[in-house]
């Protein structure tokens, strides 16, 4: 394991500190308990948006704190959800009186810790709504499992709900648009290599030289199944097709196509995947109206990518286009 770190135990502390130094115009970083707050929070009259989760997915979530997106991000240890004693003060810090929305990826740890924090915040008089993101079609959804994971769709939920909050939507309205994005977004990912959690020191799963893992999550968990390595176009189809069919996309519909890198894959390869996915959607009569290509929700240095498709309506499109000013996503300002 070779990493640009000092001490596995200090990775999150030092990284978040560096983030705060680099983006002091956008955010304030609280070191202990650790959370990241939009510089001008709480914004009077605005619903607060808080997200969080294990670290190791950068720029998620800290990179999305700022005007038009999140009001606070709560980073846990690497791949470990944050704790209520972090989530609670973050929630209080961004509450202007209009209430707070928690955007939570559907993992047992995240759900339980945000649940506790929401109860505690409510006990202190803050109204909290939770938007649960569970867009990963690699996981068979079932009443008898932990359910689908939250992956790439999270970025889109945070952007669009963030824009709704920024324009002054009510607590319920912001939560509703977040849910609507979640209902209309699906993702699936592939790993060409595993990643190494700093404190573990060894890769999170094993892959032979010519094997890839289809259906991985974002925590270095193994995926649905291993297959022999194949050309990018074939891999793209394996990711895109279940996403499209699960969404039930029909010809004539408009989508946002998001090709995401897992952290260790060159941008040039993501564009090769984008090319195939865009062509395939076009062949199916689906219009790619917006797109996003890059490393936006990662698994440390894992090589691989995920494909996310969001069915757009006019309101979501407008909210996607609305100005945003964060460390990792910025336009219109």
């Amino acid at each position: 394991m070779k990493k640009l770190i000092n001490d596995p135990k200090a990775v999150v502390d030092e990284s978040v500190e560096g983030f705060g130094l680099a983006h002091a115009d956008l955010v304030t970083v609280y070191p202990d308990p650790k959370y990241i707050v939009r510089k001008d929070a709480p914004v009077a009259g605005k619903v607060g948006l808080v997200s969080g989760g294990g670290s190791g997915h950068e720029p998620l979530h800290g990179g999305y704190v700022g005007m038009g997106m999140l009001d606070a991000a709560v980073p846990g240890a690497v791949f470990t959800s944050p704790t209520p004693d972090q989530i609670l003060p973050a929630t209080l810090a961004v509450n202007s009186g209009a209430g707070v929305v928690h955007i939570v990826k559907n993992y047992t740890g995240d759900v339980l810790n945000f649940e506790t924090a929401a109860e505690l915040a409510q006990a202190e008089g803050v109204e909290v709504r939770t938007v649960l993101v569970n867009d990963d079609v690699a996981v068979q959804d079932s009443l008898y499992t932990a359910g689908r994971r939250g992956v790439g769709g999270t970025v889109l939920v945070e952007k669009i709900a963030g824009a709704a909050a920024e324009r002054g939507d009510s607590l319920d309205a912001v939560a509703a648009i977040g849910d609507r994005v979640n209902q209309n977004v699906r993702s699936m990912g592939v790993a060409l290599s595993a990643c190494t959690v700093p404190h573990a020191g060894v890769p999170s799963f094993e892959l032979e030289d010519n094997e890839i893992e289809i259906g991985i999550g974002i925590h270095g968990e193994p995926g649905r199944h291993k297959i022999p390595m194949e050309p990018a176009d074939g891999i793209t189809d394996r990711l895109l097709d279940p996403v499209v069919s699960d969404l039930g996309l029909a010809p004539g519909e408009k989508v946002l196509l998001f090709v995401n890198g897992m952290g260790g894959t060159p941008l040039s390869e993501l564009y090769i995947v984008y090319r195939r996915a865009a062509q395939r959607l076009a062949d199916q009569g689906v219009t790619v109206a917006r797109s996003l290509v890059g490393n936006y929700i990662t698994s440390l240095e894992m090589q691989g990518c995920s494909i996310t498709v969001l069915r757009l309506d006019e309101e979501m499109t407008g909210l996607w286009d609305a100005p945003v000013h964060t460390a990792a996503l910025r336009w219109g300002v």
Partner: protein
């Protein structure tokens, strides 16, 4: 003679030692079916418990467990943090401010802990989680409680929890991160069940 606050502090101390000692093993168990952090999380959490105990020595066993609950909840994160947190909180409530814990109270506290885990995590027996260590432990401790010997209650719980952890090997996971793997979760031991057995074994050692 029952158990007191000294036993509780010894229990937590031995638990912390066990987590440190088995840190890598628990990380390794969490690797094939999880995200390689369980040992790290538990070790970090119990180290924090040790700090808290040193800062403000508790007066009762119940207070010791409550402090543990709050610390685990705020330091562990992940699924295990809230689950263990709830378990210790419910156990603390069951103990109340008893200075001397008898076998029946002890068994009731263990049951409360298990019920707390189930209430939070909604896992059933056979879902391949820590519940598969706790439920047999609670059953065995209830059976042993009739004899009135707290040491026997603890030993029965620890033995059953260890067997319960082993029993997770062939299970197909239905809760937690391992459930994403479906069939591929079979053949691996659940890390949370193992850490649960270690903690219950530490309780035995503390009473020796």
């Amino acid at each position: 003679m029952g158990l007191d606050v000294d036993w509780a502090v010894r229990w937590l101390t031995l638990s912390a030692e066990a987590m440190a000692e088995h840190r890598v093993e628990l990380i390794e168990l969490d690797r094939p079916i999880g995200d390689s952090d369980h040992g790290e999380n538990m070790d970090r959490g119990f180290k924090a418990v040790m700090d808290k105990l040193a800062e403000a020595p508790p007066e009762t066993a119940g207070a010791a467990l409550k402090l543990t609950a709050m610390t685990l909840m705020s330091k562990v994160g992940g699924a295990a943090g809230p689950l263990y947190g709830t378990a210790f909180l419910r156990a603390a409530t069951a103990l109340g401010d008893a200075a001397d814990i008898d076998a029946a109270t002890l068994a009731a506290a263990l049951q409360a802990a298990r019920d707390g885990i189930v209430a939070r995590g909604k896992a059933e027996s056979g879902d391949k989680t820590m519940v598969d260590a706790w439920t047999p432990a609670v059953d065995a401790s209830a059976a042993a409680a009739g004899e009135g010997d707290v040491r026997k209650v603890l030993a029965a719980a620890a033995d059953a929890a260890e067997a319960g952890a082993v029993s997770t090997d062939p299970m197909l996971a239905r809760k937690g991160r391992a459930s994403y793997l479906g069939e591929r979760s079979i053949g691996h031991r659940d890390p949370g069940a193992v850490s649960s057995a270690l903690i219950l074994r530490a309780a035995v050692g503390a009473a020796e």
